[in-house]
């Protein structure tokens, strides 16, 4: 591993191929259906309030009746709640029978409990991972580059690799070449790229723009029209775009809009309201902005957790599935920087940074993860697999950790 740790000229990262092999040894997890009995209890969850305890403690005073000789048996009452709201179900991708060309479609959302509160209700649709594919060469961290170097510049082959080798549920086509400050590729060029990817893989697609509001509008209108019925996720619609025009094209051609706002729930509500004039609720997913672990993840986490709870509590403007640009984890220097020896190897630290970011947001309620590193993707899928499998703990083995001799 040591010889792979050479400093990369663009400050990128290295990655040992061993890890993927190591991670491949993770045991396989089977998915099973499972159900939970849900008691119909009154609703009492409230947020924003500081609890106070006015009722005196009911603890038995020691020594009053002497020490108990036997276990004082009591029951734990599972604190199960019901919520007035439900997260909208959104379908991505359309099969031939549904008017598209995909081998399968994917549904996200539909939750009626906070993320993975499976003591209340089972998970409705497990979170989905879409892998990044870029339509031109760009500076990539070495950790990622080493896995995709054969396919850089060939987005169709890249997409195929993401699906077949890395287990992506979906693929995100980042059309960065359309950026007027980069190649300024035309909408027709973008259509051609998307066409190639549609031929190469049969999973649902996310169509990513370049961030220029005018150019993205031009490209999105062309793509939505050309590929009517495919039910792409158009990433993304922002406040400073011609939202109305884009939304109309998305609706008319049967796609889905990603409503992107910079970490502010009021702005998210506002943009969603503008979209409602043209789109159905089932045509909108929210991106509330993902900041990296160590660089604002706390804000992102709380923003998403609040949005999800608000949606469940009946705020329809936030009751949309959430998408996270988890790839942003690599913006943290600790993900890629060569650090002093006690923090190495960065080949492990980097992808762990992405996974830690993803797991944190998984528990806030993210439904769709846009990710980068194959090992991080694999881990996230394994964890969600375990969480929905419903396999029970073997309690008898737990105490073994005390006696473990590693």
């Amino acid at each position: 591993m040591a010889d792979k740790k050479k400093k990369d000229e663009d400050g990128g990262i290295n990655f040992s191929p061993d890890l993927l092999d190591l991670l491949a040894k993770f045991q396989e997890v089977e998915l099973e259906d499972f159900e939970l009995e849900v008691a119909d209890l009154e609703l009492w969850l409230e947020s924003g309030a500081l609890p106070r305890q006015l009722v005196p403690q009911l603890r038995a005073a020691p020594g009053v009746r002497g020490k108990p000789a036997e276990l004082l048996k009591t029951q734990f009452m599972p604190p199960i709640e019901t919520y007035p709201g439900k997260i909208v179900e959104v379908k991505l991708g359309a099969t031939k029978g549904e008017g598209g060309s995909r081998g399968r479609s994917v549904v996200i959302g539909g939750e009626t409990s906070p993320a993975f509160y499976t003591f209340e209700r089972p998970v409705v649709h497990p979170p989905v991972v879409t892998l990044d594919v870029f339509d031109m060469a760009l500076p990539l961290s070495k950790a990622v580059k080493m896995h995709v170097k054969e396919v850089i510049g060939d987005p169709a082959a890249w997409a195929k690799l993401a699906v077949e080798k890395f287990g992506a549920d979906m693929v995100t086509v980042h059309l960065i070449s359309i950026d007027p400050l980069l190649k300024d590729a035309t909408p027709k060029d973008a259509v051609k790229t998307v066409e190639e990817i549609l031929q190469a893989v049969d999973v649902p697609l996310v169509i990513g723009g370049c961030g220029d509001p005018v150019k993205d509008t031009a490209v999105f209108t062309e793509i939505t029209e050309t590929f009517a019925g495919e039910r792409f996720l158009i990433s993304s619609l922002t406040q400073d775009m011609d939202v109305e025009r884009c939304a109309k094209f998305v609706k008319k051609n049967g796609h889905v809009a990603l409503s992107f706002t910079p970490m502010d729930l009021n702005l998210a509500r506002e943009l969603n309201r503008r979209l409602y004039d043209h789109l159905g609720k089932e045509d909108i997913i929210m991106d509330l902005t993902t900041a990296a672990l160590g660089y604002g993840l706390d804000y992102a986490f709380t923003n998403m957790e609040r949005a999800r709870l608000a949606g469940l509590m009946g705020d329809p403007e936030l009751a949309h599935p959430m998408s996270s640009g988890t790839t942003n984890a690599w913006a943290a220097r600790e993900a890629w920087l060569k650090m002093s020896p006690e923090w190495e190897p960065r080949e492990l630290r980097g992808p762990l940074w992405e996974v830690t970011t993803a797991l944190t947001l998984l528990l806030a309620g993210v439904d769709l993860f846009m990710m980068m590193h194959p090992a991080a993707v694999k881990t996230l899928k394994e964890v969600t697999g375990k969480l929905v499998s419903g396999k029970k703990a073997d309690a008898s083995k737990f105490a073994d950790w005390i006696y473990l001799k590693p």
């Binding site: 305890q53 009452m77 083995k397």
Partner: protein, 477 residues
Amino acid sequence: MTEREKKRKAGIKELSPIDIYKLLPKTNCKECGEENCMAFATKIVNREVNVDQCTPLLKKEHAKAYGQLKEMLKPPVKEVVVGEGEKAVKLGGKLVMYRHEFTYFNPTALAIDVTDEMTDEELLSRIKKTEQFSYEYIGYTLKLDMIAVRSTSGEPEKFKAAVKKVVEKTTLPLILCTLNATVAEAGLMAAPKAKPLLYAATLDNWKDMAELALMYGCPLVVSAPNDLNALVSLSKTLLAYGVQDLVLDPGTFANEGLADTLNNFTMLRRAACKGGEELAGFPLMGVPMAAWVDKGEVADEVMKWREANLAAMLIVRYADVLVMHGDDGWSLLPNAVLRQNIYTDPRKPVAVEPGLKEFGTPDENSPVLFTTNFALTYYTVASDIESSKTNAYLIVVETEGSAVDSGVAGRKLTAEKVADAIKETGIENKVKHRKIIIPGKASRISGEIEELSGWKVQVGPRDSSEIPKYIIDKWQP
């Protein structure tokens, strides 16, 4: 309405400064350092001061009000102190279930394990590594907190000897791990004043463990893997027995049972914070190192990776203390940072004041840089410039708290804003040159900045850690 429902209703009402003020002596004596009693009451509600800072309140005639205040302010999750002295750790003390409801107190304590069968060399090197773990992160020093000593031998004398060695080498608080009360007592005898956390009372040994906890005045973990009925029954029994400082361990399962693990932690915390269930109102212990039980033939790196995944989920889902086996920097650092993030006060602003900051003693030839007013971006850049002792001007551009990359993408960081900031900060009167170093991630807008400001743009590094080197290599006024 049942007793539990009544408590639940009371538990969700908002506590106002008036509720507190009513019970204060209302002397406006300023002994607490505040202007008046109302200001003090407001700070109490915000948990910025302790009610004990009100000296008149501590007098005998106010004993009743003091008791009422203490009861009103009592967190639904009890605060349990482990260890003695400076490095003692506080576990729990949580006021809310979700951090946006207020803020989380007492960051999850991270403990690293050692055993009573390790060689002296191994034992000491693990302790040393744990103590030396230190990472500077935006003005905080991230550290590890505790040592868990496990008795793998099951022999009292061996455990006693190991605990003795550990207390001689470190002042970090201890967790003594064994289910055998005789072994536990031997360990406690070697650390009689250290107030370790005793692990653990179970359905089988609770009486003996309770006696030890009382005798040595130490907090006690209650362990009932994946059995919350047994857990609260034990908690009820031990309270009746007189052991007040409990920590709850509902079991940690890395593979099958991962869903049970998150459910148990979540249910316990919700029952305590939202349901007023006092038997659940104690700090929660997670054991990510339990992942190693299923190790098999898998490489150590994979186990450390998996253990880190488990720890991350438990930091998010309410664990107050975690026992870890992997002690590598790469696997611990993400969780040390995650813990810091989750326990940051969400009431704290995201943005810093825009304007001109000076580093060192800059003059008319010193470099001019800019960054955004997102707090984390600013502190990262500032600490990189500061630590290199470079003389420089840094313009903090108002980006509504966006970082550089998201600011450029979301048009919160535009060439207009940079050009305006150059004008407004008066930097043109401070330097003779007209060159600005911009963040590498803002290279997209470099042309526009030159056009609008008339300054020459140098695109700097993408990461601020390279700023000092960049200035040495590339800066010429």
